[in-house]
Amino acid sequence: MNRIQQFVYRQLPLVATAVVLAILFITAAILYEGFFTWGVFGNILADNAFLGIAAIGMTLVIFTGGIDLSVGAVIGFTSILTATLIVGLGWPPPLAWAAALACGATLGGTMGWLIHGFKLPPFLITLAGLFFARGVGFWISTESVGIPHATYSGLAAFRLDLGFFAVPFSALVLLFVVLLGWCLGHYTRFGRNLLAIGSNEQSALLMGLPIGPTKITAYALNGFFAALAGIVATLYTGSGNPAMGIGLELDAIAVVVIGGTLLSGGRGHVLGTLLGLLIFGTIQMALLFDGRLSSWWMRIVVGALLLLFILLQRALLRKRN
């Protein structure tokens, strides 16, 4: 019992997120017939898979007290890069994926190096990263490129059949990334270093933690995950599009914050990001089921939720201090 109390106390934002998700999901299930099914749940996961993958990377960066505005642009860039390499140059898909992942990680690592090495504001450098990746994406091609490839249609149609629930492929990738992020963020020395840097960089330095390598790795990992999200997006849409993911970085940050991670760094949980994503997806799906409410309500509701969670976090922090 004591352990449970301790967990609830330590992870109060996470618990609050879970409660909100439960309320939202149950309300939607009561209001809309056929909402409470595995098929709908699978669609929520699959529709938001690339947002979720990018948000997991964003969580790691936000743990260090940083931010990355470039993820949406990196998704657009890697999706058109993958499509062009496969269709235009005839590369086999795995090779194209490897190239895209390497590009994403390199861009992320470079931004991390600039941020750490020259003590530059993450906001500004990743803003430059956004412009750069978006521009290069449109440089490769200004139009969307379809990928008529057997591997692609095969993977896109693939479902892992659990008997009661056929998990779509992109949802599988998302769940794998969440698992990876969870282990990395909470069960490794690297994850503890991230949180230590985020809560107080000076103390982390005095404790002798490898600040530079940790921060640069966090940004490189985020770039890697963003590239992976771009690849999943090509699978999901069957094409590469340089305009993909415009404004996605905002949704990713919103999902992370709704998931209970502090934007000032040092506190949070990777699983919270998954819950935040499910809240996001549930609202989207509920609006779709309703049909009367227009799409712009999505943005207003997400903004209201952001406000609610930020004020909640603020109140919790004040109480603790």
């Binding site: 003590k119 906001f123 803003l127 943005r299 207003i300 603020r314």
Partner: protein, 340 residues
């Protein structure tokens, strides 16, 4: 004999950082003129001035206006991500009110008033509740566009109103009206900030909020006011945007404008860490940005690629402002200056 007290409010004369973007702007203009000698040409049509340089001022006027407000916010050590969405809201509001026959002065007051209200929300969250500026303004950035779409019900609203269209498309004394309006606002802002202690207060709050609080400055109020001013600028910019295209497009109006405004401010020499600001630098930065975009057409590069030089420019400016590079450069120059 008592020593003469040191003058308190003397600002050390220094090299204005606005020279950097001004130099960059000049280089870019020269490069453009070499590629296309007609680039700098200005002609007179119907008694009004036309030409690419006029276009740069005209197109850049909205970012200049946003940059004016953003400069003060950044000087307090904050940031305002919501200006683009606020533009969308006020642009939509203008179109709806005009189409209902509301007189234009009221429409403009409504636009600026809405900007003041949204700015107050930001200011309240940041100054009163102590929420980080990025997060607090992110809320309105996300929700604001939804509100704008709610106002226009997802439609692109066309307007027909001569006086209102004059705002962004009209000419006065052969010169375009919108840039003149922005310049007038700049002069007014500069007078208010530099001829009173307000500018100094803003810099003090941005430099060290605690210290300024102990020095008796109402730090919270100053911070809040900066966001209100930024909101008002965004409100007016939204009206200008609607006037410019003679329609309110709640999906695209002000899209990425917050990033352009921040970019203009940083290029103009105001560091994101706050504590100092250079209004004229921000205006020159906004012009540089607009020239960069127009140059892309001139150089025959697809305009969608324009973000790449923008990105390189930001990194270069950020590096020039970084402590490590500055110290390295200073050491190099000193070594040269003192040959032992």
């Amino acid at each position: 004999m008592a020593e003469k007290p040191a003058p308190l409010l003397v600002r050390p004369r220094e090299h204005s950082p606005a020279w950097w973007p001004a130099g960059g702007l000049l280089l870019l203009l020269i490069a453009n003129a070499i590629v296309n000698p007609g680039f700098l040409g200005i002609s007179i049509v119907d008694g009004n001035l036309y030409g690419t340089p006029i276009d740069i001022f005209n197109q850049g006027s909205r970012v200049m206006l946003l940059a004016l407000g953003m400069t003060l916010v950044i000087a307090t050590g904050g940031i305002d991500l919501s200006v683009g969405s606020v533009m969308a809201i006020t642009g939509a509001l203008c179109a709806v009110l005009l189409n209902q026959g509301v007189p234009m002065p009221l429409v403009l007051m409504a636009a600026i008033g809405t900007g003041v209200v949204t700015g107050s929300i930001n200011g309240l969250l940041i100054a009163r509740f102590g929420i980080q500026p990025i997060v607090a303004t992110l809320i309105l950035m996300v929700a604001g566009r939804g509100v704008a779409q709610l106002i226009t019900e997802g439609q692109v609203l066309l307007i027909r109103h001569q006086a209102f269209e004059f705002l962004a498309n009209g000419f006065i004394f052969a010169l375009p009206f919108a840039p003149l309006l922005v310049l007038a606002l700049y002069v007014l802002t500069r007078l208010v900030l530099r001829k009173t202690a307000l500018g100094l207060f803003i810099e003090a709050v941005g430099d060290n909020e605690r210290a300024s609080h102990f020095a008796g400055i109402a730090a919270q109020r100053i911070k809040g006011l900066a966001y209100v001013f930024s909101g008002a600028c965004a409100g007016l910019a939204g009206a200008l945007a609607t006037s410019h295209i003679r329609a309110a497009d709640s999906y695209r109006a002000g899209e990425n404008m917050e990033l352009d405004a921040i970019f203009a401010v940083v290029v103009g020499g105001t560091a994101l860490t706050g504590g100092r600001f250079f209004l004229i630098g921000s205006l020159v930065g906004a012009l540089l940005l607009q020239t960069l975009t127009i140059s892309m057409y001139n150089f025959g590069v697809p305009p969608a690629v324009a973000p790449v030089p923008k990105a390189l420019l930001i990194v270069a400016v950020a590096l020039l402002q970084s402590e490590r590079i500055r110290r390295g450069l200073a050491a190099r120059f000193r070594r040269k200056a003192v040959p032992a």
